[in-house]
C-alpha cells in the first residue's frame, strides 16, 4: 500500500444467510480486513479510544446492515479486570471467558474496530473441549479454562452449556490444531519522512508498556519490538523512548534478534496489533519459529536495517480521531486512523461502571506505583479530556486525568487535577518538566507526586445534635430512628427552627468570607498577569 491509498483493505468472506426484520441484514462467516482473515469464533483484539491496551474478544456474529458492518463480540477478561473476584492462582497468560447474562458479556461493535487476531487456547478439561497439544498451549497468546459469570460475578471452571445463546462447544478449541499460517507479509516501503509534520504524540499509548505490576501472572514474554521512531528525525522524542526502554524488565522471548534501537515491549496486545498493520512489517518466517505467529510482527535481522529505518511493528495507533498524523513511520497509519471509525463506546462504559475499578482504586494503585501526579493551578474549566490533551501536546506523554476540585471549599482560581501516567519515569519526567516552566493560558502550573492525605470522613456530623440523657421508650426509639432517615422543612414553632437558623446564619457568613477571599485571590493574580506581559513586551 502506498502512501496515497487511504482505504484499508477489506473484503467479505463466505456468506451465511440473510436476516433481519426487513431481510436487509446479510450475515457472513468470515471477512478479511487489512489482509488478515477473520472467521467466526476467532479471537481478536479491539481497541478503545484512550485505552492503551486492547480488549480481547471472540467473534460471535458478523453482519452488514445498511452498509454498516458489525461484529458481535463475546468478551474475555484479563485477570486484573476481575481482580476483586479472583480466587486462587492465575496461570500465565490466563484470561477468562465471559458467561451468564448481562452487561459485559458481549457487545456489538463496528467491524472496523477489530485490530488483530490472537490465539486463545482453551485448556479446560471439559469433555467437549479438544485438549490442546503442549506446543499449541505454549504458542498461544492466551489460555483460558475458567469462565466469569457477569451476572453473579463469580468465577468457575465448570463450563456452562450455553454462552450468549451459543453452544459452548463452538467457543472452545477448534477441531483442527491451529495452523500456523504465515503472517501477512506485506512490505511497505518505509518512508522515513513520513512523520515530518507530526506534532502529535510519540509512541501511541497502546503500545506503551503495560504495567507489569498489575498482572504479573499474565506476564508473557512477548517482546515485541513496538515502537519506532524514525529516530534520526526527532531528537526531542528520544528522551521519552529511552525512558520507556529503561523501564523494561521483560524477559525477551528467546529468539528474536532485535537491533538496539528497537524497544522491547512486553505488551502482547500491541503484538497482534502490530501483526495487523502490515504497513511496515517485514516479516521473517524463521526467527518467528519460537514465537507464536500472530505476534511475529517485526523481526529484523539487524544487518538489513539501519537504525532509522527499523521496521517496527506499527503501532496500531489507538483509535483516536485526533491522531490523524500518528507518530512514526508509516504513511499508512494516518490513513488507517482516518478511515477507521474508532470508538467502542459501549464497552468502556460497561467496564468501568460495572467493575467499579473506579477512579479511586486507580488512584490508589497509581500512587503505589509512583505514577500519580497532582497538578495545580489549572483553569477549573478544563475537563478531563482537556487536561489529558494538554499533557499529550506539551509533554508527548499520555495519561488519564481528572479534575478534582471540591465545589464548596476549593479556591476556584486554582484548578487541581490528578493525572495517572503509564510509567513511573513518565510521571517523574512530567513533574520535572511541568515544574520547570509550563505555562498554560497565563497560569504557571506546578505539580507534585502522590495522593493528598485526606482523612476518612468520620461517621459523625458536626451540627447534628442528639439528646443523650433521656430515657426513651421503645416506641419513641423507633420513631427516632425513622426520624434520622427522613427529612423535613423546619417549622417556625419549634426549638429546632431556632437552632437551624443559627446554622444558616453561620453559613451565610462563611459564604461571604469565601467570596471575599477568592475575589482577593483573583485580583492578586490579575496583578501578576499584567506584570508578566509587560516584562515580556519589554524583553522583546
Amino acid at each position: 500500500m502506498d502512501g496515497s491509498n487511504e482505504q484499508i483493505q477489506f473484503s467479505w468472506g463466505k456468506l451465511r444467510g440473510k436476516g433481519g426484520v426487513k431481510m436487509d441484514t446479510q450475515f457472513y462467516e468470515s471477512f478479511t480486513l487489512d489482509n488478515v482473515k477473520y472467521s467466526l469464533y476467532d479471537c481478536v483484539y479491539l481497541f478503545k479510544h484512550g485505552d492503551p491496551e486492547p480488549y480481547i474478544g471472540k467473534i460471535l456474529k458478523i453482519w452488514e446492515q445498511n452498509r454498516s458492518k458489525k461484529v458481535k463480540i463475546l468478551w474475555f477478561f484479563l485477570p486484573k479486570e476481575i481482580q476483586k473476584y479472583l480466587r486462587g492462582s492465575v496461570v500465565e497468560n490466563e484470561i477468562f471467558l465471559a458467561s451468564g447474562d448481562g452487561i459485559g458479556l458481549a457487545d456489538i461493535n463496528p467491524l472496523e474496530a477489530v485490530a488483530g487476531k490472537c490465539t486463545v487456547i482453551c485448556i479446560s478439561k471439559d469433555e467437549r473441549n479438544r485438549q490442546p497439544s503442549p506446543q499449541e498451549q505454549a504458542m498461544a497468546d492466551y489460555i483460558f479454562y475458567r469462565v466469569f459469570d457477569v451476572k453473579n460475578c463469580t468465577l468457575s471452571d465448570q463450563l456452562p452449556d450455553k454462552i450468549a445463546g451459543l453452544e459452548v462447544k463452538v467457543l472452545l478449541n477448534p477441531k483442527d490444531e491451529l495452523v500456523i499460517s504465515s503472517p501477512n507479509a506485506v512490505n511497505v516501503p518505509l518512508n522515513p519522512n513520513a512523520d515530518d509534520g507530526l506534532a502529535a504524540t510519540a509512541p501511541p499509548p497502546h503500545s506503551a508498556v503495560k504495567e507489569e505490576n498489575e498482572s504479573p501472572d499474565a506476564a508473557v514474554p512477548l517482546s515485541h519490538p513496538a515502537a519506532k521512531e524514525v529516530a534520526a528525525k526527532l531528537p526531542a522524542r528520544v528522551p521519552l523512548s529511552q525512558s520507556v526502554v529503561s523501564k523494561e524488565e521483560q524477559k525477551p522471548v528467546a529468539v528474536i534478534p532485535i537491533s538496539e534501537s528497537v524497544i522491547k515491549k512486553e505488551d502482547k496486545k500491541s503484538a497482534a496489533a502490530i501483526s495487523l498493520s502490515q504497513s511496515a512489517i517485514k516479516e521473517e518466517e524463521k526467527p518467528v519459529a519460537s514465537t507464536p505467529h500472530p505476534r511475529s510482527a517485526v523481526v529484523e535481522n539487524n544487518a538489513k536495517y539501519t537504525q532509522s529505518q527499523n521496521a517496527h511493528g506499527g503501532e496500531r495507533p489507538p483509535k483516536k480521531l485526533k491522531l490523524s498524523q500518528e507518530a512514526t513511520v508509516k504513511n499508512m497509519i494516518p490513513a488507517v486512523t482516518e478511515t477507521r471509525p474508532l470508538e467502542l463506546p459501549s464497552r468502556q462504559a460497561d467496564r468501568s461502571k460495572w467493575f467499579k475499578i473506579s477512579w479511586d482504586d486507580k488512584l490508589r494503585r497509581a500512587d503505589e506505583q509512583g505514577t500519580l501526579v497532582y497538578i495545580q493551578n489549572l483553569d477549573i474549566h478544563f475537563a478531563a479530556a482537556d487536561i489529558e490533551e494538554l499533557i499529550r501536546e506539551a509533554l508527548q506523554l499520555s495519561c488519564t486525568a481528572k479534575p478534582i476540585n471540591h465545589p464548596t471549599y476549593d479556591d476556584p482560581n486554582n484548578g487541581k487535577a490528578y493525572a495517572i501516567f503509564r510509567t513511573k519515569n513518565d510521571a517523574d519526567s512530567a513533574i520535572s518538566k511541568i515544574n520547570s516552566g509550563l505555562v498554560v493560558g497565563g497560569r504557571p502550573l506546578y505539580c507534585s507526586k502522590g495522593l493528598l492525605k485526606v482523612p476518612k470522613s468520620s461517621g459523625t456530623f458536626v451540627g447534628h445534635l442528639s439528646l443523650h440523657n433521656i430515657k426513651i421508650g421503645q416506641k419513641q426509639r423507633e420513631e427516632q430512628k425513622k426520624a434520622v432517615s427522613t427529612s423535613h422543612c423546619s417549622q417556625p414553632n419549634t426549638i429546632e427552627y431556632d437552632l437551624a437558623l443559627d446554622w444558616m446564619l453561620l453559613r451565610a457568613k462563611q459564604e461571604k468570607k469565601f467570596e471575599i477571599l477568592h475575589k482577593h485571590h483573583k485580583d492578586g493574580r490579575k496583578g501578576f498577569a499584567s506584570i508578566g506581559s509587560k516584562t515580556a513586551k519589554a524583553g522583546n
Binding site: 482537556d386 479556591d411 516552566g437 485526606v454 427522613t486 422543612c489 453561620l506
Partner: protein, 238 residues
C-alpha cells in the same frame, strides 16, 4: 531554593530542544489532512457539550450533608418538590479536613431545580438528623468531575526557561498561587472550627433544656406536682 535552581538547570538541558515553543492547544484536532470525520467529531463534541449544559441546568448542588446521608434519603427528601433522576456524591480529594458531604443531584427539569433551590434557601431544610440544615445551589459545569470538554475552550501553553523575560514573573505568580492555596486552607480550617463551636453551644443548650424538661416530666409522673400545687394553692389543670 538551591535545590530548585539545580533542578531547573538539569531540566533546562532537557528542554534545550524545546526551548521556547509556542504551542496552541485547541480542542479541534490539528491540521486535519483530509478527514471529513474530523468535522463530524467536532460537531459531536459541541453536541455533547450542549447536552451536558442542559444537564447542568437541571442539576442542583447540595452540601452540608451528613456523611450518613445516602441516595435514597436524598431521593425521599426531595420527593415533595422534585423527582430525582441521579445522585452523585462528591468525593473529597483535596481538603485535608473532615468536611461535610456534598452531592450533585440531577432532577427532571429546570423548573424542579428552581423550586428545590428556592425551597431550601427560604426554609431550613433538614435531611437526616437535626438541626443543621443543608444548603442547595444551582450546579455549575465545573462541579462535574466527568464532564465533556468545552469545545470552545482555547488552550495555549508555553514553555518558559530561566532566561526568558517572563520567567521571574511566572515564578512569582506560582508562589502567589501556592500562598493563596494555603490561605484558602486556613480559612477552611477556621470555618470548620466555627462550626464545631456552634454545634457545641447548641448541644449544651439542648442538654440543659433536656434536663429541665426531664425534671418536669419526672415530677409530673410521680405525682409530686400535686403536692406542690396543693402547697402553693395553685390550681392544676392540664
Amino acid at each position: 531554593m538551591l535545590l530548585y535552581t539545580f533542578l531547573l538547570k538539569s531540566v533546562c538541558i532537557l528542554l534545550a530542544q524545546n526551548s521556547y515553543r509556542l504551542g496552541q492547544v485547541s480542542v479541534e484536532p490539528y491540521s486535519c489532512r483530509d478527514c471529513p470525520s474530523m468535522e463530524a467529531s467536532k460537531e459531536n463534541a459541541s453536541k455533547e457539550y450542549a447536552d451536558f449544559e442542559e444537564k447542568v441546568k437541571r442539576t442542583i448542588y447540595i452540601d452540608h450533608l451528613s456523611p450518613q446521608v445516602t441516595t435514597p434519603v436524598i431521593k425521599a427528601a426531595l420527593a415533595q418538590c422534585a423527582n430525582v433522576t441521579n445522585v452523585e456524591f462528591i468525593v473529597n480529594y483535596t481538603i485535608p479536613y473532615d468536611i461535610p458531604s456534598a452531592a450533585l443531584v440531577e432532577l427532571d427539569d429546570e423548573m424542579q431545580a428552581k423550586a428545590a433551590v428556592e425551597l431550601m434557601t427560604d426554609f431550613p431544610f433538614i435531611i437526616g438528623g437535626m438541626p443543621r440544615p443543608v444548603r442547595a445551589t444551582y450546579a455549575k459545569a465545573e462541579m462535574f468531575r466527568d464532564r465533556p470538554p468545552c469545545p470552545d475552550l482555547k488552550k495555549y501553553f508555553r514553555w518558559i526557561k530561566q532566561g526568558d523575560g517572563e520567567y521571574e514573573a511566572m515564578r512569582k505568580l506560582k508562589n502567589l498561587a501556592k500562598r493563596q492555596e494555603a490561605e484558602n486552607m486556613a480559612l477552611i480550617k477556621n470555618l470548620l472550627d466555627e462550626e464545631k463551636e456552634l454545634a457545641k453551644q447548641q448541644q449544651e443548650a439542648l442538654n440543659g433544656n433536656g434536663k429541665k424538661y426531664q425534671m418536669l416530666e419526672n415530677v409530673v409522673s410521680d405525682g409530686t406536682i400535686r403536692n406542690l400545687a396543693h402547697h402553693y394553692g395553685v390550681k392544676l389543670d392540664d
